[in-house]
Symmetry: C2
Subunit: 350 residues, 2 copies
């Protein structure tokens, strides 16, 4: 890429990728090409701000993700933070640092994925930065969302007597990762996977941030605490428990297990719950609702064509997060289980 | 840092760094600690969005910047993009990727610099991401600013008949970099530099984004095009010329040269103009104003205790960017001159 200057690269990556209709409807006044972007938020809204970094060999490898997936998932993980606040994503900035010798086709594919995810959620990509790096390809996506004033959903607002819910299947992304690492085939050589495995790979490479579910929860007026599942169910439950000063009991028999997860776990001699509790990157939402409002909330989800599973209950502080097992035993749940490659999920302590 | 988890690290880096007064005054509803931050922009404003990446060995080395400077300058470079739009910075997100074995003290120092710069400009740091990286330390700072609706300053609005201005001395940052590279002493061992050299080092390590000047320009109602000097005067002039479809003549004798730059250039056997035209990272503002309004604008700058230098004129398209030399010759100016270490300034093509 030594023959291409910054402006030419920006044009190549961004030119014609989003329709004028989307860009205008999104509230973009001045997009890519000046010192910064100028955009218009909705009057009376609060802004929701978040960014996420994905870097090669820590968050993805050649055998676990296609280049398009890298872009798609980096955008999706930031969008999921907006969903976890009950907000709507509006604008994104993309910072890409590329090692010397990176093929321009690879960068184009990453941007295709970024734009695919952005367009799916009505997000305008309005700027960013491209730099060289001495190290592995690194992508930071910032997403600016918004919500009605005072309506953002926090993780610190769970109360004893709440029911704990999840918006969908968990553990599938981690199982997909396990499958891909075991297969160990460069993504450029992937062929069609058996149907059930394909669903797991899809869950890992193309997660679906739950913006719509977050909106139903926010509008319902009864959702208390809310989180997205980026680090596994156990970790997210601990976050809510610690931030809210409560204890949580999960009920094993209530936790939904996808058929494809059960089938794959069987082939690995593993318990599907291991993936669910400690896998992460599913980007479903988990949260709490006063127990008396749980059925009402499930009806609202059903009307919207979405699922909501009650998987546990909130208790007074003092007992942390526990699992009521199918065998009747109640056991404490550790915050973190095994980690993926590199000995860490790349977040925090290194 | 293997013994510290993400939440403990976040607390260590961010705890107690900004006063409750600043955070509340800045419009922060929910700051660091949830899935995303919730903030309130000013009613009727447009948002200005930008991000900048700095990565070790490309944008800084151990001999060119102290750890605090890395944080300060990463924030400053994004703030400067807000200044270049005539806006006011409000909120920031920090994404830090750290190689294994990074000392926690180093990360703390980087955050000290980030907070020092943020507090100076009234910016609340409201979130971010910390990850491991296989490669060099990399920092992406996103800044969200705002401006009165329809008042953002672009680079595409220069017109023939405009005067070209600069808000201060240029070339000092590049000279400081040259001095530091020549000295080749790890920043931990820096001692006191002679006064004139100290000013150049300061210009390189602690640049001053011109938010106040940007505000004077915006309020003046007469400023046409605006850019910040991140890549050297020649490059910024070309950006305005190309975006606006005009030609620009700079007048050599009008370009202010700082005494310390002249003195240092002499010791290097270089022309100070080389640093000014092709040095970059001064973060002064350059722009255009109808020639008839230039003196009025200079008066407004004087009242605000700021400098404004008229350094050239805008002509009709067709002649690109030229320099009217002191010897009377008019010569075309190349967009880019020499580059710093790593063969590139790290922007764009790698």
């Amino acid at each position: 890429m030594s023959s291409i200057d910054e402006f030419a690269l920006i044009r190549l990556l961004n030119g014609g990728k989003q329709s004028a209709t989307l860009v205008t409807a999104a509230g973009v006044i001045t997009g890519i090409g000046d010192d910064a972007a100028v955009v218009e938020a909705s009057p009376g809204s609060h802004l929701i701000l978040t960014c996420d970094t994905m870097t090669e060999h820590i968050h993805f490898k050649q055998v676990t993700m296609r280049d398009e997936d890298i872009g798609y998932k980096a955008m999706a993980s930031a969008v999921s933070d907006i969903a976890a606040m009950g907000g709507v994503p509006r604008f994104a900035l993309v910072a890409l640092s590329m090692p010397g010798g990176t093929a321009v086709e690879r960068v184009q594919a990453i941007y295709e994925g970024l734009y695919e995810c952005a367009s799916r959620y009505g997000i305008a990509i309005v700027g960013g930065d491209t730099t060289a790096i001495l190290g592995e390809l690194t992508l930071t996506v910032t997403v600016i969302g918004e919500t009605e004033q005072g309506k953002a959903k926090l993780r610190s607002t769970a109360q004893p007597g709440d029911a704990v819910f999840a918006t969908g299947y968990l553990g599938r992304s981690a199982a997909g990762l396990d499958f891909l690492l075991g297969q160990n085939v460069p993504s450029g050589e992937w062929t069609v996977f058996p149907e059930q495995t394909e669903a797991l790979v899809q869950a890992h490479c193309r997660p679906e941030p739950q913006i719509e579910a977050g909106q139903v929860l926010q509008r319902s007026g009864v959702c208390r605490a809310l989180n997205d599942v980026s680090d596994g169910l156990a970790s997210e439950m601990w976050e809510i428990a610690e931030a809210s000063g409560v204890g949580i009991d999960l009920i094993e028999e209530r936790i939904p297990i996808a058929d494809e997860l059960a089938a794959f776990a069987r082939t690995q001699g593993k318990d599907p719950l291991d993936y669910i509790l400690y896998g992460g990157e599913d980007y479903q939402l988990v949260g709490t609702v006063p127990a008396g409002n749980a059925i009402e909330l499930q009806m609202k989800f059903k009307e919207a064509g979405l699922a909501l599973h009650v998987i546990g209950y909130v208790h007074a502080e003092g007992q942390g997060v526990r699992m009521v097992q199918n065998n009747g035993y109640i056991v404490p749940l550790a915050k973190h289980g095994y980690n993926h490659f590199s000995g860490a999920d790349g977040k925090g302590g290194v």
